[in-house]
């Protein structure tokens, strides 16, 4: 009996920006919302615990922002921009699976305030990120 193969297409929303470490960034003025991509959550597998930074912590770009533990591994999440953490997603304490089910929505990780006036730099657009994950 031939079973239907169910393959998901990785979602890469056009309006977001991306890092090569598979974080996404949504910038609004000096605030940026940060999460991990659909590709990243799929590679990690079922997320069971999310360790987020304290509100008020300031991070340099590339610093360790937090850790995501799945049934397969513990992976570090890196700060995609330099700035201060102003809000973290409290829902993930009780429901870490939101990172899997809704990585671009309710599964967001934190909001950072960028220090200087300039917006985030050195990030990829959806097309560039799609190119590195389709390899």
């Amino acid at each position: 009996m031939l079973q239907r193969v169910r393959l998901r297409l990785m979602r890469i929303p056009e309006e977001l920006q991306y890092t090569k470490e598979h974080e996404w960034v949504a910038a609004t003025g000096s605030l940026v919302r940060v999460g991990i991509t659909d590709y990243a959550q799929d590679a990690l597998g079922d997320v069971v615990y999310v360790d987020l930074p304290e509100v008020g912590k300031s991070l340099a770009e590339g610093d360790i922002l937090g850790e995501i533990e799945s049934t397969k591994s513990v992976s570090e999440v890196y700060a995609p921009v330099a700035g201060t953490v102003v809000e973290v997603n409290g829902l993930l304490d009780e429901a870490p699976e939101l990172v899997n089910s809704d990585p671009y929505g309710e599964g967001w990780l934190c909001v950072m305030e960028i220090g200087d006036a300039g917006g985030p730099e050195g990030l990829m657009d959806a097309a560039a990120y799609g190119a590195i994950t389709n390899g």
């Binding site: 079973q3 239907r4 169910r6 393959l7 597998g45 079922d46 069971v48 591994s73």
Partner: protein
């Protein structure tokens, strides 16, 4: 007659197929195992003896079962184990080789098993000789100058090794070295041990050939680095070709080089970590030297050091009375060579019955004593570690001798390469080159084509009579399967395992993820919900009812 594979466990018995109830579910109020006659002695009332604030409010909720049900319960559980005695166990990085039964018998001899570690030296000579000979054998095999046999596991060995590294840097006044560099393919215990030892781990990436990126390492080596930790061959089953250069770079930066002995089975009798340039290392006796492990051990992770670190070892260590003698074994440079186990040219003699025989002659009837290294970091275990495990390991070394140990490594490497070649058409082989004692393939091709992942391949193997390989590790390979057949599986078993893996890949390509969704089906417990178990664990009977 049809030839069968001895390591295929598809005939393993499972009656009925239901999950075993817990001992609490078998409990019935008032039921007892043994019923003793009344003694005539009055019951002791706790209230008469203990202050009220130390008393519990009620009796503990212990299970009440008959001896008959108790024995049946635990016998059934024991029959539902999968062990190296049941069949092949290709769990990569764990070296689940068969443990010869003769050595168990030897360790059970009353003269060994019944001796108390509290016996005075005059009554402990046999045990002290045994420990000393094992220490010297390991020195010869590893190219080190002294060993502590105390650490009870590989991770415990890592911690002891890193505490020695700390003690060394403290002794030289170099107080700012707080970083341990580990490759991104390292065992998870490496960064964990660093943390427990009060150090911070820093990761250095691998090249696309699966080896340490020497340029990236160069950039990381500064005056804060206490040590680098390296497994060789690494967790991808690949030999670190630049290992001598890497150790030199560490030394030039003032850091020490730590060898994680997890994969020693690939090189035992062929090359020695001490010759590669490492200063401190551990050996997993329960892997390479075939002592029992799995299910919590007990294991043994002796730590070996070069001369300049011997003063920091945990004590006590057995040695010839008076310490450093003419043939002084401990603490003098080159002295080990006097026993014929020194240089790399002498590997042939290392750990052989002949070599140990010579050691026996050298020590002869000399009295032994317990020695505490001058700047010891303290004990790593009560008494002398898991001593009966140590006895098994020495027996293994003496029975094999040097040529035998070399054949162990050669056969382990041959088996892994045979397996890799047999399955590399069906799975992605990310590095496309011969491996050492274990091989890593990727299920990425099946994930892409059919939605079948490494974990699914593992579950499907269980249904077909084999223990699963290590999955999803090392992390640098997507959907990794890490297979270590060891030298103890026959060609028939290897062929059956390879055929099964190729069949699974073929079925996945044909039928998609449907083939694995509800596997395993032929085990007492089917597919467990790992995610919910981790997110909302049920840890007590009360949680379970709630």
């Amino acid at each position: 007659m049809k030839q069968a594979a001895g390591g295929r466990a598809s005939s393993a018995p499972v009656m009925g197929g239901g999950a075993e109830p817990t001992i609490f579910e078998l409990s019935f109020p008032g039921r007892k195992c043994a019923q003793l006659p009344a003694t005539g002695v009055a019951d002791m009332v706790p209230e008469d003896w203990l202050p009220a604030d130390l008393l519990a409010s009620g009796l503990p909720a212990l299970p009440e079962v008959s001896e008959r049900d108790l024995v049946a319960h635990y016998t059934r559980l024991s029959e539902r184990q999968y062990s190296v005695d049941t069949g092949a166990y290709p769990l990569g990085s764990c070296t689940m080789k068969y443990n010869p039964k003769g050595f168990d018998q030897l360790a059970g001899m009353p003269a060994l098993a019944s001796a108390s570690p509290h016996l005075p030296v005059s009554r402990s000579r046999g045990w002290m000789r045994l420990l000393l000979e094992l220490e010297w054998s390991l020195c010869g095999i590893a190219g080190m100058d002294a060993f502590t046999l105390q650490p009870p596991a590989g991770a415990a060995g890592e911690l002891v090794g890193l505490l020695i590294v700390n003690a060394y840097h403290r002794s030289t006044g170099d107080l700012d070295r707080k970083v341990v560099i580990v490759p991104d393919s390292a065992h998870g215990t490496n960064p964990a041990s660093a943390k427990v030892a009060g150090l911070a781990a820093r990761t250095v990436r691998s090249t696309d050939r699966g080896l340490v990126d020497v340029d990236a390492l160069e950039a990381e080596l500064d005056s804060t680095v206490a040590a680098i930790m390296l497994t060789n061959p690494n967790t991808l089953g690949l030999f670190e070709e630049d290992v001598e250069r890497i150790c030199r770079m560490a030394h030039d930066a003032g850091a020490l080089a730590y060898y994680d002995g997890a994969n020693l089975n690939a090189i035992v009798g062929l090359s020695r970590p001490g010759d590669m340039g490492f200063d401190v290392m551990h050996v997993n006796l329960h892997k390479t030297f075939a002592t029992p492990h799995g299910g919590g051990g007990p294991g043994a992770g002796p730590v070996g050091v070069k001369d300049f670190l011997a003063q920091f070892l945990p004590g006590p260590i057995p040695r010839p009375a008076g310490g450093v003698k003419a043939e002084g074994v401990i603490g003098t440079e080159g002295s080990v060579g006097n026993l014929g186990w020194g240089g790399s040219e002498d590997i042939a003699a290392a750990g052989t019955a002949e070599g140990t025989g010579r050691a026996r002659d050298e020590v002869g009837a000399a009295p032994l004593e317990w020695w505490w290294p001058e700047q010891s970091i303290g004990r790593a275990h009560s008494f002398h570690g898991n001593a009966l495990v140590l006895a098994r390991a020495l027996a293994y070394i003496l029975v094999h001798g040097s040529p035998g140990l070399r054949r162990v490594a050669e056969t382990a490497v041959l088996n892994a390469n045979w397996l890799l070649r047999a399955i590399e058409g069906a799975y992605d082989a990310p590095y496309g080159r011969p491996c050492m004692h274990e091989c890593v393939v990727s299920v990425a091709n099946l994930k892409k084509a059919a939605g079948v992942r490494a974990t699914d391949v593992g579950k499907l193997l269980l249904d077909r009579g084999f223990h699963a390989p290590t999955i999803s590790f090392p992390l640098v390979v997507d959907e990794a399967l890490m297979l270590e057949p060891t030298e103890t599986e026959s060609p028939q078993t290897l062929a059956a395992l390879a055929t099964t893996l190729v069949e699974i890949a073929g079925d996945a390509q044909c039928h998609g993820s449907g083939i694995s969704a509800d596997s395993p089906q032929r085990t007492p417990v089917g597919r467990v919900d790992e995610a919910t178990a981790a997110r909302r664990p049920i840890l007590t009977e009360d949680d379970r009812e709630g």
